[in-house]
């Protein structure tokens, strides 16, 4: 299970406690999180399913490359961070 942490900036809008989630890609991990917290999806993803322009995701400190399909690989104990990009503000 990957460990998924969200920017604390989201705390003011909804519950985003750090959680463990299964999945072999960023997409699968996020889908696992959204299954338990459906409202969170629209805060992170655009309607078409890609990552919002001003949101960044890091896996073990590396920024994900595939922002549209979210196909970057995730393995067992990876740390996934969903962050607010400074580009948006």
């Amino acid at each position: 299970m990957a460990r998924v942490t969200f920017t604390p900036v989201l705390d003011r809008h909804l519950d985003v406690a750090t959680t463990s989630a299964a999945g072999a890609t960023v997409r699968e991990v996020l889908d696992s999180v959204f299954a338990a917290n459906p409202r969170l999806r629209r805060y992170v993803l655009e309607d078409h399913g890609g990552l919002r322009k001003h949101v960044q995701i890091f896996v073990n400190g590396e920024m994900v490359a595939d922002r549209r399909q979210l196909g970057d690989a995730v393995t067992g104990s990876d740390d996934v961070y969903v962050m607010q990009a400074l580009s948006g503000g």
Partner: protein
């Protein structure tokens, strides 16, 4: 008269109540941009549209006058497509015979409706798939935006929407089919051959007289227009001291009265001569009074956005707010104004609780 005023701003939603004098009694979503606010007179609900820069556009509803809020759904473009909700520029209640119906006008040009008080939304595909829509373009944004939704109180199936830049569109069958309806408008921003093209006009805001819904008022990018036939045709009118601006407020019962807040022109969006004024007509647009009593008349550079002017159900009480955080209120149809604040964040939306 309405004793409560909702003010959506760049940094939150503020509620003013009239208890002797007007003062802020509610502060909600402080720090977050509140683009739009709607009070639904059918059930008393208040809706706030939050346009969070990083995290998308979200709608919250309160069923207890603002004490508590619940996030509801939001218009969502089809997954797997190319489009995504960029903003909501219009949020209006449906007719009295359509409980739970809300209309939302969005960027990039989609009209959405909800029949469950905002919990779920669906794209009005008839308008989205209209071939003429391909000729719409952005006005004030990179993509087209639907900013005005007008529901006919006599027949809720008659709906009009105004688009920057896409003209005015009417449906008489609850959104199943649409007809562009901008005859009489003209576009100075187009080459001569496209000047009268109905599907590229830039209405900035459209409102109807509630008791005479065939009378519509439009502040357009390069002029103001009035319709007396439900939006079939439009005739130019001439607010003073200038014809550019964003908002218009239609008197709720007098079809000859409306208010505008002019600015110099497209490329100079400030009040004429640094003086904030309201232009009011009481004769169907034939003449205009320039109202300035109580408004700043020197070095004022306030711009008033399209949803930032509102009139209450009597037509006597009006309020408007500006990009520089001023908020003014009149109790006498605009003859005199009092300043409620000079220090709000930039004001996006002003609504009386009717």
């Amino acid at each position: 008269m309405s004793d409560r005023l909702l003010v959506g701003t760049r940094k939150g939603l503020f509620v003013y109540d009239r208890n002797g004098g007007w003062s802020i009694t509610g502060r909600h979503f402080v720090g977050d941009p509140c683009n739009l606010v709607l009070h639904d007179p059918r059930d008393g609900a208040i809706y706030a549209v939050l346009s969070l820069g990083h995290f998308g556009v979200h709608i919250h509803r309160s069923d207890d006058g603002g004490l508590t809020w619940t996030e509801v759904g939001a218009p969502t473009y089809p997954e797997g497509g190319e489009e995504s909700l960029k903003d909501i520029w219009a949020l209006e209640a449906g007719g009295d015979d359509q409980p739970g119906r809300l209309w939302a006008g969005t960027l990039p040009g989609g009209l959405f409706l909800s029949d469950d008080r905002g919990e779920t939304w669906r794209l009005v595909e008839s308008l989205w798939n209209e071939p003429e829509r391909q000729r719409w373009f952005g006005g004030g944004a990179d993509v087209p935006g639907i900013h005005s939704v007008v529901v006919d109180p006599r027949d809720s199936k008659k709906v009009g929407v105004a688009v920057s830049c896409g003209g005015y569109w009417r449906s008489e069958d609850d959104g199943a089919t649409w007809t562009v309806s901008s005859e009489g408008m003209y576009a100075e921003f187009m080459p001569p051959e496209g000047r009268n093209d109905p599907a590229i006009q830039d209405p900035h805001h459209v409102e109807a007289c509630a008791t005479h819904p065939d009378v519509l008022w439009c502040q357009h990018h390069n002029g103001a227009f009035r319709s007396v036939d439900g939006g079939l045709t439009w005739a130019e009118i001439h607010p003073q001291p200038s014809k550019f601006g964003f908002p218009v407020a239609a008197h709720p019962t007098d079809p000859d009265t409306a208010w505008f807040v002019p600015a110099v022109k497209d490329e100079c969006r400030v009040p004429v001569d640094g003086k904030v004024v309201v232009a009011r007509t009481r004769d169907g647009g034939a003449t205009f009074d320039v109202l300035r009593n109580g408004l700043p008349q020197q070095d004022a550079y306030d711009l008033v956005f399209r949803h930032a002017l509102h009139v209450d159900e009597t037509g006597d009480r009006l309020a408007f707010g500006s990009t520089t955080g001023s908020l003014w209120l009149s109790e006498d149809g605009g003859d005199g104004w009092k300043t409620l604040s000079k220090h709000l964040p930039p004001v996006y939306a002003v609504r009386f609780v009717r």
